[in-house]
């Protein structure tokens, strides 16, 4: 069984704080939790919400509907009431009535702790009570959370939590909720998992120009910079950000830049630079709806084809698109490794949905485990940076030693010096392109989920893994026959691997967060697909299991 708790109100009202408090405390109970967010591009006002889904088994996707809505403003109450499930409950910060249970969180906080700011703790207490969870566990969680801030703060929070539970106890009823179990209490968001993997893998320079939804990865890395020994620099623009990591990669340290579509557009020339210079750079591209500024705080999968063809001239790249928190971690590490093994730029496609998604997962490895940078130690004085090899990968030295390291954005010879000799150009261009063979050989095959003989095959890539997976389960639970083929590497495509897993479905449906079916056309180009149906979503909201099920059932 699962329950979706939605906290909603204006920006700046503490929706995020309340949500995070709940997620943490509920995970602490050993429940499976999954949280997602919906917010507007403003600092105050508007209508934001935060969903915490809890269950006794692992969760993969958010839900459209809520079982318990905590509304901090009248619009939150009025607009979101229609998404309440039957038997659901609405707690409203104010007078009750009209189906809402009124609990004045802010006033209670003021009274109990002398500050309205703790309304969120009152709300959390109320939620615990409504769901029938032990308020003591919540208080314990608060104690660890606020320990650093001193006993007084802890005490005030505990008072507020108890007060919330009390108020709900008198006013509200109960909602049946899953029983506490033994899910891991290691909570992580997509944004953090990417940042953590980068830090642990030995990334030493991180640059960005702030842009939603990549900023949480950037700030996460800033927060852990001292611990891991990372320079985190906010560049003057995205062009500087990408050229800085090109410089750092040249000098031998793994480096990463984080951005979104508009910022990535500005990095495209630098991407091409990394292509010809054969620099191992990694760019995290957090997608949001475009074109241009679009919807800054919403989600989308619209930049796939752009990412695959971005940059003038021809060069090789790898593009990963994680679908889960664990994949965010693993594929970020793999992206860095791939970049260094093949000396070429690698992209990680994420999006607002996945960046903000939080879930409890088995603990991710936080210990520093630098990747192999494949660096040639002690190059001799006649070292040639672009020696022609069969694999296309040349031994890479870094500056500071006996052999000069010469890199050029112009066509160059094997030493790295500028040349206009056309035969040399061909030789070097062919050398670089040969890396595609190795990249393809190592490309991750898609992952199949669902019965082998499924009649309906959902094609998915990136962040829609979770929603598709829940849709497959739901379809099959209701007599359907569906499976999912999920690509977490979208370039190069492991065509052989994919072909094997296609099976013989009657229906093939590409589930994509864009309106033109970009991934389907990539597969068509790769010869893996002829026609297929498209199940698109491009209103800025993430896929959910229900959304896909109703799309499939049409």
């Amino acid at each position: 069984m699962d329950i979706n708790v939605r906290v909603a109100g204006e920006a700046g009202q503490g929706v995020l704080t309340t949500g995070n408090l709940l997620v943490g405390a509920l995970a602490g109970l050993g429940l499976h939790v999954l949280s997602s967010q919906s917010y507007m591009s403003r600092i105050r006002g508007g209508l934001n919400w935060f969903d915490v889904r809890i269950a006794d088994e692992e969760l993969f996707s958010p839900r459209r509907t809520a079982d318990l809505l905590v509304a901090l403003t009248p619009p939150a109450r009025d607009i979101l009431a229609e998404d309440l499930t039957e038997g659901g409950m609405l707690l409203f910060d104010g007078a009750g009535g009209d189906g809402a249970v009124g609990i004045e969180f802010s006033r209670a906080a003021q009274e109990a702790a002398g500050s309205k700011l703790m309304a969120n703790t009152v709300a959390a207490g109320a939620v615990f009570a409504v769901l029938g969870y032990d308020c003591g566990r919540l208080c314990g969680y608060l104690a660890t959370q606020f320990k650093k801030k001193g006993d007084e703060v802890v005490a005030a929070n505990v008072t507020c939590a108890r007060r919330g539970a009390e108020l709900a106890g008198t006013h509200a009823g109960r909602i049946p909720a899953p029983a506490p179990a033994a899910a891991p209490d290691y909570l992580c968001s997509g944004a953090e998992a990417i940042g953590l993997a980068a830090a642990a893998a030995g990334v030493k320079l991180v640059t960005a120009y702030p842009m939603t939804p990549s900023t949480p990865t950037f700030t996460y890395l800033a927060a852990v910079a001292d611990r891991y020994g990372i320079v985190v620099e906010q560049a003057e623009d995205e062009i500087a950000a990408v050229n800085m990591i090109c410089g750092a990669a040249y000098a031998g340290v793994p480096a990463l830049a984080a951005t979104s579509g508009g910022g990535f557009a500005l990095m495209v020339e630098g991407l091409s630079l990394a292509g010809i210079m054969e620099l191992p750079i990694v760019i995290v591209l957090g997608q949001r709806p475009g074109p241009a500024t679009g919807l800054p705080t919403r989600t989308a999968q619209q930049d796939l084809k752009f990412a695959l063809s971005a940059g003038h001239g021809e060069f090789v790249r790898a593009v990963f698109a994680p679908g889960t928190i664990q994949q965010c971690y693993e594929l970020t590490r793999r992206a860095l490794q791939t970049a260094h093994r093949f000396q070429t730029p690698v992209l990680i496609l994420t999006d607002e949905f996945l960046q903000d998604l939080q879930k409890n997962v088995p603990p991710l490895d936080e210990s520093p485990r630098p990747i192999d940078r494949h660096i040639l130690e002690d190059p001799s004085p006649d070292y040639r940076r672009y020696e022609v090899t069969e694999s296309g990968v040349s031994p890479r030295a870094i500056p500071g030693g006996e052999g000069f390291v010469i890199c050029d954005s112009d066509v160059h010879n094997d030493c790295g010096n500028i040349t206009e000799d056309l035969q040399t150009h061909l030789t070097q261009q062919d050398k670089r392109m040969r890396k595609l063979t190795g990249l393809t050989a190592e490309a991750l095959p898609p992952q199949r989920y669902g019965p082998d003989d499924a009649g309906t095959l959902l094609l998915a890539w990136g962040s829609s893994y979770g929603p598709c997976r829940e849709a497959v389960d739901a379809l099959n639970a209701h007599g359907g026959s569906a499976a999912m083929l999920h690509f977490s590497q979208v370039w190069p495509i492991n065509a052989a691997g994919a072909r094997q897993l296609f099976g013989r479905p009657r229906r093939v449906i590409s589930v994509e967060g864009n309106c033109t079916g970009q991934f389907a056309s990539v597969l068509r180009e790769a010869g893996l697909l002829e026609e297929c149906e498209l199940l698109p979503r491009y209103d800025g909201l993430p896929f959910t299991g229900e959304y896909i099920v109703s799309g499939v059932n049409g």
Partner: protein, 271 residues
């Protein structure tokens, strides 16, 4: 020495001021006692930007206008390297203008040697941000109307550690300026070098510069920002050359906690 190097003859026009800069740079690097293995020459694209290929050092010849951020990344990765950017006026002040503003603010330990020929050489003679008012080209057919960019004044306003101007007409002066810039340990060093382009700039010729260059008086205190600014605003019949401004402030590297111990790259190698 890398094989293939021998092929790399300067692709400059005979008489170009870039030759003097190249030659002087070689001397200055030697005089400053810089270990070439620890020297990285970074450039963008343009005639000036080809220079790194003609000397013995590590080279990062990147994108047009983007030498400074690349140099910044290299310096952060390994702050034991000496970073010299050799770029043109278009590269540094046109396409690269934003990076120039912010690299100086950041005070990253990079020496920027700008070959300022007041024209776009490689693309055949369009106006650059430092072209004189009225300068006629095939694009600026009625002459330049935008006020020339004043890199020295901007750098002084931003409290740059080292701000100097020299010219190819006095190689001895140029060498001394380069050596002084290379010796600067504080942070960003800007050396703007007036360089004749014999092919496309028929106004600011070798002689034109020679006649106007006025070494800054020894009595000038480069730590005096107001006086430095006054010098920077001078242009025309007299063009001050020498060290206009100096400032003591910690470099970006010195301010970065992660760089307090070993270099970033050494931190990895150590593991």
């Amino acid at each position: 020495m890398n094989i293939g190097k021998a092929d790399t003859q300067p692709a400059w026009c005979p008489g170009c001021g870039n030759f003097a800069i190249l030659k002087t740079l070689e001397e200055a690097v030697a005089e400053a006692g810089i270990d070439r293995r620890k020297l990285v020459l970074v450039s963008g694209i343009g005639q000036a930007a080809k220079l790194p290929h003609y000397t013995r050092a590590n080279v990062f010849n990147g994108l047009h206008g983007r030498a400074l951020p690349a140099a910044t990344g290299i310096k952060l990765a390994n702050h034991e390297l000496t970073l010299v950017v050799t770029s043109g006026d278009g590269d540094m002040y046109g396409e690269g203008g934003n990076h120039f503003i912010h690299a100086v603010r950041r005070n990253i330990g990079v020496k920027a040697f700008v070959h300022n020929n007041q024209v776009y050489g490689l693309t055949k003679g369009q106006a650059s941000p430092t072209s004189e008012l009225g300068f006629v080209t095939k694009v600026q057919t009625h002459g330049v109307v935008s006020v020339p960019f004043n890199p020295l004044a901007l750098a002084i306003v931003e409290d740059c550690c080292f701000v100097a101007r020299s010219y190819t007409g006095d190689r001895d002066h140029l060498r001394r300026m380069m050596v002084a810039a290379l010796a600067e340990r504080g942070g960003f060093a800007l050396l703007d070098i007036l360089q004749p382009c014999v092919t496309f700039n028929k106004v600011n010729t070798f002689r034109w510069y020679k006649e106007r260059a006025r070494p800054i008086d020894d009595s000038h205190d480069p730590f005096d920002r107001e006086k430095a600014l006054r010098l920077a605003l001078k242009w025309g019949d007299e063009i001050p050359v020498g060290i206009l401004y100096r400032s003591r402030r910690p470099s970006f590297e010195a301010n970065s906690p992660a760089l307090a111990g070993k270099t970033l790259v050494a931190q990895l190698a150590g593991r």
